[in-house]
Subunit: 239 residues, 2 copies
């Protein structure tokens, strides 16, 4: 659809895969990246295992303009993301003095567990954490952020100005109270005529009625509106 | 932790990556598989692109006991999962007569779009859909289900009896109102002593207080309770 930069999101944490915790970062990151004109083309949910994390990071950072990770940067034994990223880049872990100062703010005890949160792969730069101080970090094209949604959002807010985006990916939609099986043929014909936009059909049942949300996505607002108008005229002749 | 069978979940759909739609299937599948003693070790969110879907399916079906997919089996032009799975297995698509009968129930017009929902990779067997009739399908170790959460759940309910599980993966947890940085060392010591269970620490802020939910997971209920008791005795000496 576009030549925009691409990204992968890695959601790191056994608690997401066990079903204990509902991920709440992917939707936010997908929306935010679209707004910046960066195409989120894959996401992976992986376990807290350094060899696995390192392999997936290396696969994704070679393939995409950006990689964003969430989770695993706290002080406990199951927080293994920093060492995994160091493994991926083949660099040692080092204590970052700036991070140590931030974590020690308010006179908090800088015990070994908290010092772990100041330990980053050599060559990494910090990502501000306006919520709870312990920073994330960036190395190469990999941005390493916290898993707690409020912190992940704040960290993304701290880095988004430095991301090189493309044309913002825009969308517009219309709800049609028809079954998908009845509108698929005319919708397909419209999609074939307009390859410069992406048309999605997402079925729903609402108040006992079946319907579909028809979404047009692209980078040209006028083209999106024109295709949406054609969809309306075709599928909602009386609407 | 165990020698249980493993699984991957593939969430197929541009709408999840664009942030339009919040995934609501992964948590359910993670919980359900844990209950059956099947370890969900990775999940991928991928676009509606046959070459991508086929490559990821082939990677995951070689690596895991089971692969479960959600999304992309409707009648519209952007529903490409069936053709992608056929591509992955190197087999043609064929109309399944039983699926055609199910979709035609209630005298619904069997137009080409609805016929597409009766079209499956050769050799596939159907997965019942008690909600909206159009079936999913299974081929090899790959179970292909709908994306709509109510339908995905119903389809999983229809197949779970045939899955070969291991020991159910159980868990128990305690909330500790301490900062993770203050409990990390004793928790690490406990985790090192008990490698037969998995201990996770998930921080939270609730009513203005910081804390962590400490989760013990494993397959032996008595061992889980013993380790949780040790965590309580160590971290909640007055509790």
């Amino acid at each position: 659809m576009t030549d925009n930069p691409t990204a992968a999101v890695l959601i790191i944490g056994n608690e997401i895969l066990s079903g204990k915790t509902q991920d709440a970062n992917l939707k936010f990151l997908g929306e935010s990246l679209a707004r910046l004109g960066i195409g989120l083309v894959e996401a992976r949910v992986i376990r807290d295992e350094p060899a696995v994390i390192a392999a997936v990071v290396n696969e994704c950072r070679a393939r995409h303009t950006y990689v964003f990770t969430t989770g695993g940067i706290g002080p406990t034994h199951d927080d293994l993301t920093a060492e995994s990223i160091a493994l991926a880049f083949g660099v040692p872990l080092v204590v970052d003095e700036d991070a140590r100062r931030r974590i020690g703010r308010g006179g908090r005890d800088l015990n070994p567990a908290r010092l772990k949160m100041a330990t980053v792969p050599e060559g990494a730069s910090l990502i501000d954490n306006p919520v709870s101080h312990a920073p994330g970090f960036k190395i190469g094209n990999v941005y390493v952020m916290a898993g707690i949604p409020a912190v992940a959002r704040a960290m993304f807010g701290a880095i988004e100005h430095e991301l090189r985006g493309g044309d913002p990916i825009l969308s517009a939609s219309v709800d049609v109270f028809e079954r998908e099986g009845d509108i698929a043929a005319p919708l397909d014909a419209i999609a074939r005529r307009h390859g410069d936009v992406e048309i999605g059909s997402y079925p729903f049942a609402r108040d006992g009625r079946f319907g579909a949300c028809l979404v047009v996505r692209g980078t040209d607002r006028a083209r999106i509106e024109a295709v949406l108008a054609e969809i309306r005229a075709t599928l909602l002749p009386d609407g």
